[in-house]
Amino acid sequence: MRDICSGSTQSDREHSSTVPEAVEQAEWQQSNAECLVLETGWDNTQNKMAVELDVFVGNTTIMDEEVYQLWLDGYTVNDAVKVRMEGGVMEECEASADVLLSDTMDQYRTFQMCERLLHSPSKLANQLLFQIPPNRQAMLIERYYAFDDAFVREVLGKKLSKGTKKDLDDIGAKTGVTLKSCRRQFDNFKRVFKVVEELKGPLVENIRHHFLLSDKLGRDYAAIVFFANHRFETGKRKLQYLTFQDFAFCAGQLISNWTVGAVDNMVEDMDVDLDKEFLQELKELKVLITDKDLLDQHKSLVCTALRGKTKAFNEMEANFKNLSRGLVNIAAKLTNTKDVRDFFIDLVEKFIEPCRSDRWTAADMRLYLTHYNNSAHILDTFKHQAVWDRYMVVIKSCIFKMYHD
């Protein structure tokens, strides 16, 4: 019999000739390492024997959602077995720890084999290796691309680069997410970013179609991509009270109102970038604070409308000019990339914090901003109504969302 090892030199050469695959496999290998160690050590003491090999392959690929989640969460096989034991699955079918371990390893292997396909989900539907029913394919994809809010909050607005990836262990430690899971989530962000970056058309749709994600998840990813693209500052202490969902909502507003795609989605440019023309036009709004008459007129209009409708009227009246300057200045500065980054911190510092210290309620805020926005239309010398509305619709909804404790 030919020694299966005799041709080692030749096959080594063969292998190196297809290096791209090898590169792909390297990551794989990493994740497999722990599995292997386990395998050889299994059952050694108890039965005077060792399981050298143990596989179970179904014509329809069997996947346990619970184990999948444990795998996604970065549990090692042993930890996953422990969790499952505590979950009481053993009583369910009179299983022993051995059985559970064997099952968990099988499933982990399956997931590892599937992972390559999950990187480009459209492949999952027409690959031939695994027979997976469509509804389970959707589940696999959705869960694979799901992320921890705590984790994403940490990376939001950061550059999706190698540098950030190196910090993942810190983030993991801080958020309680395993490093493995952090890596998966980070790589997902990066992968989606890379694909969508160069695509034309609506961002959310692009993401959903390329990665076959649900609407909700598609929107979240759009937010992440959008934030990463503009590198919005989200890490400052003053912004800590904001959740990922707050930011995701704001991102949605920005995408649907301030990007090029918002006005005309047939244009060449992409959804990811803000409409440069619009940002230029925002400078015109400065007139609202530089022209003293306009400013006073605006103030009196707003105050007339507000009088008697809120307890915080006095504070509103006193602070009007400051607040208005704050908002208009934010608008005027947005042509600067640096200032775009500080958009959220500016909103908080220039508007939300003063209001909060004056103890405005959410309803006050709503009332004030509505009238602030509408009154500008009545100003007869103010010509930039369209730009103003396009600006204010986003500002309003962002502030409404961000105004909480």
């Binding site: 019999m1 030919r2 299966i4 005799s6 041709g7 080692s8 096959s11 063969e14 292998h15 297809t18 090898a22 496999q25 497999n32 292997l36 395998e39 039965n47 005077k48 024997m49 060792a50 399981v51 050298e52 090999l53 143990d54 596989v55 179970f56 392959v57 179904g58 014509n59 329809t60 690929t61 996947m63 959602e65 619970e66 979950g87 699955v89 079918c93 009179e94 299983a95 022993s96 051995d98 059985v99 099952d103 292997r109 399956t110 084999m113 459209s122 492949k123 539907a125 027409n126 031939l128 695994f130 027979q131 997976i132 029913p133 469509p134 389970r136 160069e198 034309k200 692009n206 179609h209």
Partner: protein, 1076 residues
């Protein structure tokens, strides 16, 4: 020039990156058939190339068409160096050669490389134009249909069963040729794959020729195996049953069944004859002639053969049967002359017997590889016959010629034939052959079930004769007829307790029945069946050559004996009295022998209730010992009682029982009332015994059992204690699960459409510590038990479900390694329906009526049940499903897909079969959507990728899929793959390597079936899974051989409304009650 093969290469997708610089591939394709090769253009810089080639035409002999596979190689063009191979696809074009099978092969095939596995897919279109060949001396056998299914395929009717066909071809194994030293592992693997593919084709062609010679048109139960003998060569051998099959059009199915009418009449004749006749000449003749000639191993000095002295002919053997009766059964070399017809035809013989005899005696080997039969085919079953022989491979004179191996098998078959004769049978059914090779030692095994068959199927124009065979005796009911002994009561081949049949009270039946076949559909069964396994390890000294062979020969009989004892005890422990699907595998390793016997235990209503098991201590007086024995006895009795409840075995019991055992009662009731008076007082006592069996009163048991030594286990040493413990350690299946190794679980009748086929492999490494036989046994038993437990756990989301056709294969790939490979299918059933067996029994039916309904009982049954349960299962099933899926693996793919497959699906399928070629081409072109720029950056391309769902292909080791109807057989799938790796660690160790490989094999089988236009594989089996590893060098190699029948099936509910709806309920009843 009798054939034109046309091939078109359409497109590729998901190709691997072959050029690192561009991250793309410049792919082209070579198409090779025989010695002709065509090439496509290079499609530059794409991972999804669109070749859309012209039609490549090969003009070839049909002989070549049968032998050669079409070889499609995908390569990466390289301007400066040699082109790199991406991978290959071998396409067996045999299905296209049969007018009734597939007409075109078209679809996506995985591109397979023996080193890297699957690397993308290629879309290929293949057609064949056959010209009529009038040459009388032709070498091809195009048009003969092959089926792996071991029963008459579902949409055919057997006009005639011709009998046994076998063939064997030998070639030098490419891995042992000198050139292998210099070529790459890839080249070597590919040479081997190609050779085996060629040899399989040749084998099939030769068998086809034999079938044509016999006047048949099909081979059913086609079993092909290959033996890697090593230095001495590579053997591909096959056996099968030649038949003449008539295609049934779906509408006419019930009508054509009327041909089957006269079945029971002959049945009755045959069953009456043996017991009433006086001394049978058959047996006497056999005895005298066989005692004379020397045993073969003396006659053939180069080989060492061991006909096991005890067991070969022991269908229901027990300890006491190790008498000289068996010894006299050693094979005779010149059987043909010995078994002459004329001498045997004594005056007392019935006409029928003669007919059968003559019909069968004309054949050299009256063997049938079938395991399920048309109703009435099987008249009586004698018991299991088996033969083993140990051979030395390095002593073959002419290794390249098949003669020696032919002679070996001939010898074994003769032995089997003589065993069957000894049992008063002239046929062997459920016949199979296997080998186990370790170094130069090879164990050849054959086994089957001795039986008396209805001659009607053997003769030309026989279909009308049956009526004339009518006798004045009333027909014996088909539900018990096969149990009646075929041999002579006064001259039994082995000691057995005979009683009158508990069903009809007219004929004698044995107390236990072992068979290798499926439970006949019409058989009356009490309760449910279960999987029974006997496992055994025996150490042996390492040795070489003759010494080794002798050592093995000497061990074999002991192993068979012990396996039988284990089986018998476990059967008793479950309170059952018959084994079906018995398969005994003995595997040889360097320092040990492994024996594994699997079967499905059943309580046959016709057979007497089994007695309990009694423990006896040898050393009397020792009080503690006595106490110990008592406790064990109690445990055993408890287990028996528990098992009776578990399997719902409650024959002849009182009325005050829960409805679950309604069936049992019903059956017994009719027996008590209608049945003939109990003939002897002895019978009476037996009946009583069965009542008091589960009680603890040993004395009573003892009395009733008389001297039935088989039931007494003596505890005289630690071995015996161990044995008893091992007997009791078999864990019961968890609630909601059943398991069997036959096609269908006896006692379950309402299958739903959930199907999950799986393959599982485990390899255990024994530590080098010196192990005893007992220790080994325990390890081996634990291994098998744990595997089963794993299955139950994995499949828990399918509860209630049954594991069917559990096929265990054991091997000793290396010293200190034990490998167990299992392929089985889990099928869901409707629990509520399963409990209640429809009340009307076959006993109450006329023979003809029964037969008419029984032709396709399984289908109709499944149909009826699914029709009945549909509304409820759809409502209740869904929420339950979601409920489960949140915490457990959901494997409900089958039913899900089923729900999705609506009329649309059916229409699509139909359109597909009619003008598949054109439809498919177009669709495939659409789907693979050219992306010339390589990197897909546009939305549109993305959408088109989503648009082509992969055809769902179901796989099952059974001959049918519950809830569906097979409308077309597309041809045999017989594939052989080699996979090798030099980066074992990177692929996830041996487990990762094999896991991927098995998944790849499944994928390739599915792809081939889908390309033939099919949506399922039935009678799937993994014949071989040979794994060699060297973790130190980071290398492993594995060979897998799989086979099955590609079919198109449609949901039962999608068919045209059945013309005889009223009939269905009844049919279901009859089908169910005998569901094998």
């Amino acid at each position: 020039m009798p054939g034109k093969l046309k091939v078109k290469i359409v497109a590729g997708r998901h190709l691997p990156v072959m050029d690192r610089a561009s991250d793309l591939t410049d792919a082209f394709v070579e198409v090779k058939f025989g010695n002709t090769t065509f090439k496509t253009d290079v499609f530059p810089k794409s991972l999804n190339p669109q070749w859309n080639s012209e039609w490549f035409k090969f003009e070839v002999d049909d002989e070549d068409l049968q032998d050669e596979p079409l070889q499609v190689t995908v390569l990466d063009h390289d301007t400066y160096s040699a082109n790199d191979a991406i991978g290959k696809v071998y396409i067996d074009i045999d299905p296209l050669l049969c007018s009734e099978a597939a007409s075109v092969i078209s679809g996506w095939f995985p591109i397979y490389d023996t080193i890297h596995g699957i690397r993308g897919e290629i879309n290929v279109l293949v057609k064949v134009e056959l010209f009529n060949d009038l040459n009388r001396f032709r070498q091809s056998s195009c048009g003969v249909k092959f089926f792996c299914t071991t029963s008459i395929p579902r949409c055919y009717r057997a006009a005639m069963v011709h009998g046994f066909v076998e063939e064997l071809v030998v070639n030098e194994d490419p891995e042992y040729q000198w050139i292998d030293r210099i070529r790459s592992p890839r080249a070597s693997n590919e040479a081997r794959q190609r050779l085996i593919s060629l040899m399989s084709g040749e084998l099939q062609r030769k068998i086809g020729l034999k079938v044509l010679e016999m006047g048949g048109n099909a081979v059913v139960g086609y079993l092909q195996c290959f033996d890697l003998e090593g230095e001495s060569g590579l053997v591909v051998r096959a056996i099968g049953t030649a038949c003449t099959l008539d295609k049934l059009s779906s509408g006419s199915a019930p009508n054509s069944n009327t041909h089957m009418h006269p079945n029971t009449a002959p049945a009755s004749n045959a069953c009456n004859s043996p017991s009433k006749d006086g001394k049978e000449p058959v047996f006497g003749e056999d005895l005298t002639s066989s005692s004379g000639p020397p045993t073969p191993f003396r006659a053939l000095p180069t080989t060492s053969s061991s006909p096991p002295p005890f067991s070969p002919s022991k269908p229901c053997s027990r300890q006491s049967s190790s008498s000289d009766t068996d010894l006299s059964l050693t094979p005779k070399t010149g059987m043909g002359s010995g078994g002459s017809v004329g001498k045997e035809a004594g005056p007392l013989k019935t006409l029928l017997r003669q007919q059968t005899q003559t019909a069968l005696e004309q054949r050299e080997f009256p063997f049938f590889t079938l395991t399920s039969f048309p109703p009435g085919f099987l008249l009586h079953v004698g018991g299991v016959v088996s033969a083993r022989s140990v051979k030395l491979l390095d002593r073959i004179h002419n290794p390249d010629e098949p003669e020696t191996r032919d002679a070996w098998w001939e010898e074994i078959r003769q032995e089997i034939k003589s065993h069957a004769k000894a049992l008063g049978c002239h046929g062997v059914v459920g016949y199979s052959e296997s080998t186990s090779i370790c170094e130069e030692v090879c164990i050849l095994s054959a086994s089957g079930t001795a039986a008396i068959l209805n001659p009607r199927y053997m003769r030309e124009g026989c279909l009308d004769i049956g009526i004339s065979d009518h006798r004045f005796e009333e027909p014996s009911p088909p539900s018990c007829g096969f149990c009646h002994i075929p041999y002579d009561e006064l001259n039994m081949p082995f000691p057995a307790q005979l009683t009158y049949c508990y069903h009809c009270r007219r004929q004698k039946v044995p107390d236990v029945l072992f068979t290798t076949i499926n439970l006949p559909q019409e058989a009356a069964v009490t309760g449910k069946g279960c999987l029974i396994q006997a496992r055994l390890c025996r150490l042996k000294k390492k040795a070489q050559g003759e010494v080794n062979a002798t050592a093995i020969s000497n061990l074999l009989p002991f192993m068979e004996y012990e396996l039988h004892t284990q089986l018998m005890n476990k059967l008793k422990l479950r309170s059952m009295n018959a084994l079906f699907g018995l398969h005994i595998q003995i595997s040889v390793g360097e320092n040990m022998l492994l024996g594994l016997a699997s079967a499905t235990g059943v309580y046959l209503t016709a057979l007497p209730a089994p007695g309990g098991i009694q423990i006896a201590g040898k050393t009397t007086g020792d009080l503690s010992n006595e106490h110990h024995i008592l406790t064990i006895q109690k445990r055993i009795n408890d287990t028996i009682a528990k098992n009776k409840e578990l399997y719902q075995i409650n024959p002849a019991k009182l009325f005050a029982l829960d409805p679950e055992v309604f069936c049992g009662i019903n059956m017994e009731l009719t027996e008590e009332v209608v049945g003939s008076p109990i003939p002897e007082p002895r019978q009476r006592s037996r009946l009583f015994r069965s009542h008091s069996e589960s009680s603890d009163e040993l004395s009573e048991l003892d009395l009733s059992h008389g001297k039935k030594d088989a039931f007494v286990l003596e505890i005289d040493d630690t071995d015996a204690v161990e044995d008893i413990h091992s007997l009791l350690t078999d864990a019961p299946t968890p609630t909601g699960f059943y398991s069997c190794n036959t096609e269908i679980m006896p006692g379950i009748y309402s299958w739903t459409s959930g199907v999950q086929m799986f393959t599982s492999v485990r390899v255990f490494r024994l530590s080098n510590a010196s192990l005893t036989n007992q220790g080994l046994n325990k390890i081996f038993t634990d291994l098998c038990e744990n595997l089963l437990k794993s299955f139950y756990f994995k499949l828990r989301s399918m509860i209630p479900c049954c594991l069917c056709q559990l096929n265990f294969t054991v091997a000793v790939p290396e010293e200190e390694l034990i490998q167990v490979a299992v392929t089985a299918v889990a099928m869901t059933f409707d629990k509520d329906q399963a409990q209640e067996k429809p009340a009307d029994k076959p006993t109450t039916k006329g023979g003809s009526e029964t037969e008419e309904q029984l032709q396709f009982p399984m289908e109709l049954c499944a149909d009826a049940s699914s029709a009945n349960t549909q509304p409820s299962s759809k409502i209740s099933g869904v929420p339950e499903n979601t409920n489960v899926s949140s915490r457990a693996a959901s494997v409900d793919y089958g039913s899900f897909a089923d729900r999705c497959s609506t009329w649309l699906e059916l229409l699509r399928l139909k359109a597909h079969t009619i003008r598949r070629g054109s439809v498919k081409t177009i669709s495939s072109l659409e789907h693979c959507s050219p992306l010339p720029e390589g990197r897909s950056r546009s939305l549109r391309s993305n959408r088109s990728f989503r648009g082509s769902p992969v055809t769902v292909v179901k796989m099952t080791p059974l001959s049918f899929l519950p809830g569906t109807r097979i409308i077309k057989y597309l041809g045999i799938i017989n594939m052989f793959f080699i996979r090798e790796t030099t980066s074992l660690r990177e692929e996830g160790g041996v487990s990762g390597f094999l896991h991927t490989f098995i998944a790849e094999v499944f994928a390739m089988v599915r792809a081939h079936v889908a390309a033939l236009g099919g949506n399922a594989v039935v009678s799937y089996s993994m014949k071989e899974c040979m794994l060699m590893e060297n973790p130190n060098k980071n290398q492993a190699q594995c060979l897998i051989n799989v086979s099955g029948d590609a079919v198109i099936c449609v949901r039962e509910t999608d068919q045209e409304p059945n013309p005889s709806m009223a009939n269905i309920g009844q049919t279901c009843a009859s089908g169910t009650d005998g569901a094998t």
